[in-house]
Symmetry: C2
Subunit: 307 residues, 2 copies
């Protein structure tokens, strides 16, 4: 069962307490594609790149089953560029540079060849563009997952709310859930946000794991305690790619299966942070992923008789 | 199997975003005793109180099986008083007042009637006093659990390290684990701290749960996502009391059983924060606790086939 992923393909410059890189490929759709392509599911990419985006990076993704029919290449502009510096605790970062370049003109078009996709991953983008992709689908996908960020809450809240009405799963971090709902308690925030449209809400808490809410159910998945978090860039997108990749592979969008999908997404994200950019995602194989999922099982596994 | 708990019995004045109280009983040993007394295990209290500590509060604890032979009452001084104000996120607080009062003279004595105790909970106290209690035990307890805080790392690190050599389980929060080890990564911090003495390390992360380390094993227990965190005061001590209470009841100090003990401690702590002071701890019964533990099972329960 195929899936569409919409988002950025970019260059990043990243500085962490452990080192820096001046130019490495990144972007939400890049990370989603690397993660989702571990599941033997066709990944239909929609993005925009400039003349400077490396051909070998496109080939690397194509060789993993990622289709590029929906990736527009602009021959006289540069690719989107983002530069950021992480604080010592790695939970927060400062954006140093945002050069939109080709992204300023991005008008995502869903190619005819993508129309049979039953899963849609809307990476973090201007809400109007996310809505445009939904509206171009001739048959509503079986599952629409949406990522967003605080920036859109600041500048395009009304548009954001319009998209939220149309999606099944919303991904935000804890600060964004509080901003979106006006509630400090994440439980109350979740209830308000689900009332705004999405039947499922995932609240990402970085090194503190992730919560999945649905109706009155809640599930918690930890992040794996790691010796080294080298570069958190893309971890959220990798999580999203693993999440929707697992769902698309299993064709099961029940709450129970979403719990598994969150563990799979968390496992993939735990690899992502081990090297700069998507470097580690290019190396891992099925056995690595299975072993990592096994570590998650060990991490939270307990049996208990009641007091 | 009986347990000794050493720590403060105090008055607190607490301000949270949800309200304030000018005087309510508190103190580490009070919270430990309320939690540990849910397990049909004799709780042997060691503490010091002033003339102003309410008799009905002592009776309330005695009626739960808490022995007071080791609680010294000073007839011409006031009880220890602490006042604090929580920030909006409830994860941090400012100490406004610390009146040591009787605590300045605290010299804990282990009564003869406590000598058969096989479990020892050293609440947060001056490390020299914690060591004195260990040294007074004629037979080394089966398990010694120690709580401490950043303050002792600042002013009495050498003494703290002496105590750490003698204990089995150390309880600290994430910031304290980093301070104690000089490592940012909690995995690396845990390894260094276990090299300093304790075979088991629990790192408490407040609303983000707790980690248990032992050799190369790690276990994670989430905190229950709550609608309202009314007052976090005593949550860490309640967690500790539930942890050691479960171990003393089951007489099993294996890693597997410590995982269960952490879930039990987390369940009790989740009640503690629902009202000011130990108010909620006085109300709950076995059925409430069992139901809450069931919620923890639901929160993290998943079954997964590997990718």
């Amino acid at each position: 069962m195929s899936l569409i992923t919409v988002g950025t393909m970019a260059f990043d410059a990243i500085e962490t307490p452990f080192g820096k890189v001046d130019q490495i490929v990144g972007g939400s759709a890049t990370y989603v594609a690397y993660a989702a392509s571990n599941f033997n599911v066709p990944v239909n990419q929609i993005s925009i790149i400039g003349y400077d985006f490396p051909a070998e990076e496109l080939e690397a993704l194509k060789s993993r089953g990622v289709k590029m029919d929906g990736v527009e290449m602009v021959s006289d502009k540069k690719s989107f560029f983002w530069s950021g510096k992480y604080h010592l605790d790695m939970n927060s970062r400062d954006t140093l540079i945002t050069d939109l370049n080709v992204l300023a003109d991005f008008n995502p078009i869903v190619p005819e060849s993508y129309q049979d996709s039953e899963f849609l991953m809307l990476g973090n983008l201007m809400p109007k563009l996310q809505l445009s992709v939904i509206n171009q689908m001739k048959v509503r996908p079986k599952l629409i997952v949406m990522d967003t960020m605080n920036f859109w809450m600041d500048v395009a809240m009304d548009d954001l709310k319009e998209v939220m009405k149309e999606v099944d799963v919303l991904l935000v971090n804890d600060a964004e859930a509080r901003q979106l709902s006006g509630e400090i308690s994440l439980v109350k925030a979740a209830r308000k946000i689900m009332d705004m449209g999405p039947a499922f809400l995932i609240i990402k808490k970085g090194e503190h794991g992730a919560l999945l809410f649905h109706q009155h159910h809640v599930f918690f998945a930890p992040a794996l305690p790691l010796e080294e978090v080298f570069d958190p860039t893309g971890a959220g997108d990798t999580f999203a790619g693993g999440f929707i990749g697992h769902l698309a592979k299993t064709k099961d969008i029940s709450f129970e299966n979403m719990k598994r999908a969150i563990i799979v997404g968390s496992a993939l994200a735990s690899f992502c942070v081990e090297k700069f950019g998507p470097g580690r995602m290019k190396e891992i194989n099925k056995e690595d992923i299975d072993n990592r999922i096994g570590e998650f099982v060990q991490l939270v596994n307990f049996d208990i008789d009641l007091v």
